[in-house]
Symmetry: C2
DNA sequence: CGCCGAGTTGACCATGTTCAAGGTGGGTGG
DNA sequence: CCACCCACCTTGAACATGGTCAACTCGGCG
């Protein structure tokens, strides 16, 4: 059942949802309110009540935690078709923000315990998403465990290359600061390492946000 | 239904399983084969077929990945009552090994797709476990994202203190090398940082593996 | 044109790694 | 019972890597 109603962040008609979904991956939860966010805008904050399941329709969302000293650690980037906002407890323990202009659907049915499991088909999809999230988080932990900045960046770039449309071409939607906070590095180190990879002939920086992989083999070797 | 049969690693009668479980947390999957492992012994390897759900009965299990250069990254430590071995794909993408002498039950019913979801109660428990694992992995990623060795070790020690029996007392079952690989540090840095924490009066090293927290407040402050 | 945010680069410094040398304690065997 | 061994841990000194601070470039936009 579709919910359409007024909302603080530009709600849109349901037709738009279906339209945007066309040509994209399909999902079991094709209902919920469509909301759009501007770059940097907060979707929910750490500590708020959880229970809503979000699906990215357009753009990229990041989940992160702010530390006492002002530093920020980015947990994950979510792109079109991916879901986020699930929590094991009552509260969000991460903050979600829009990286660029983006649209997400919010399904509040997940406030009801076991709603997701009432139907076996829905349960299967639900579990698949949670397992995917667990795998992704473990992948990220493994990435952060790596020693060198070069290792980390190479792994990150390959990750982004996978998610992109054209093989060998990486269109970064996030800033250097975002990358730094995702890799546990500083913006300067990210920048330097990027330049170094270009000098070594592994990549070409068409622009800061557009990267061409010129030696996939060597890049993969760095990521092991 | 209980499965009891011969196995390479010391299978035991089912009575023993129930006996060991008494007084411990209860689980929806109280069936499966009990197997024991010696310190360092492999339970399953990265790349092997998945589908078995393991529950730790006694001892501690670590899941890790070995990198090309011989380095090892530890993903998690599992203690009595916790489950591991779930995968989103067909294969294990981590290796599981016994940290000390330990016993686990192996339930191969999870080879059948959607077995876990056939019953809603079982599905709920299953989802809870996967969500827990996701949360834990994200926690670990956040830990690894921290800059200082002191921050990391303080966080790790608090984590261990939580899991222990006596407040303020930490019994480490894992070696310094294990800790180093879990925190993305070297064994020397772990050792030095441990000593430094003792010099600063936050902890007392009764023995390398037995630690008394003498200033919980300051330790928490380090972990933020 | 001048501003501004994002990115790059350089010089110096702090932190953790590396390499190497001791300790320590629990086992085994003489 | 002691001597020895071995794995585990600690400590020290030199070194490498990434962080910090600061200057500079670049491109878009009022």
């Amino acid at each position: 059942m579709l919910m359409v109603q007024a909302n603080s962040a530009k709600p849109q008609a349901v037709g738009a949802i279906r339209a945007e979904w066309d040509g994209s991956r399909s999902f079991a939860w094709q209902h919920g309110l469509l909301r759009t966010f501007e770059p940097g805008q907060e979707i929910y904050a750490e500590g708020e009540a959880a229970g809503t399941l979000y699906t990215v329709v357009r753009g990229v969302v990041r989940t992160c935690r702010y530390l006492g000293d002002g530093r920020r650690l980015i947990n994950a980037f979510y792109t079109a078709g991916e879901v986020f906002g699930l929590e094991s407890g009552e509260l969000h323990h991460l903050t979600a923000e829009a990286v660029n202009d983006c649209a997400v659907t919010a399904d509040r049915n997940f406030l009801q315990p076991d709603y997701a499991l009432s139907d076996q088909r829905r349960a299967a999809t639900f579990v698949a998403h949670v397992l995917r999230r667990a795998g992704r988080a473990e992948q990220h932990a493994l990435l952060l465990g790596r020693r060198g900045a070069t290792d980390k960046l190479a792994t990150f770039l390959l990750e982004q290359e996978e998610g992109g449309d054209e093989p060998g071409v990486i269109e970064l939607v996030m800033s250097r600061q975002d990358i730094a906070d995702y890799l546990g590095l500083t913006i300067e180190t990210v920048s330097r390492t990027m330049t170094q990879l270009e000098r070594d002939g592994l990549i070409t920086l068409a622009s800061p946000r557009r990267i061409l992989v010129t030696s996939m083999k060597e890049l993969r070797a760095l990521a092991e």
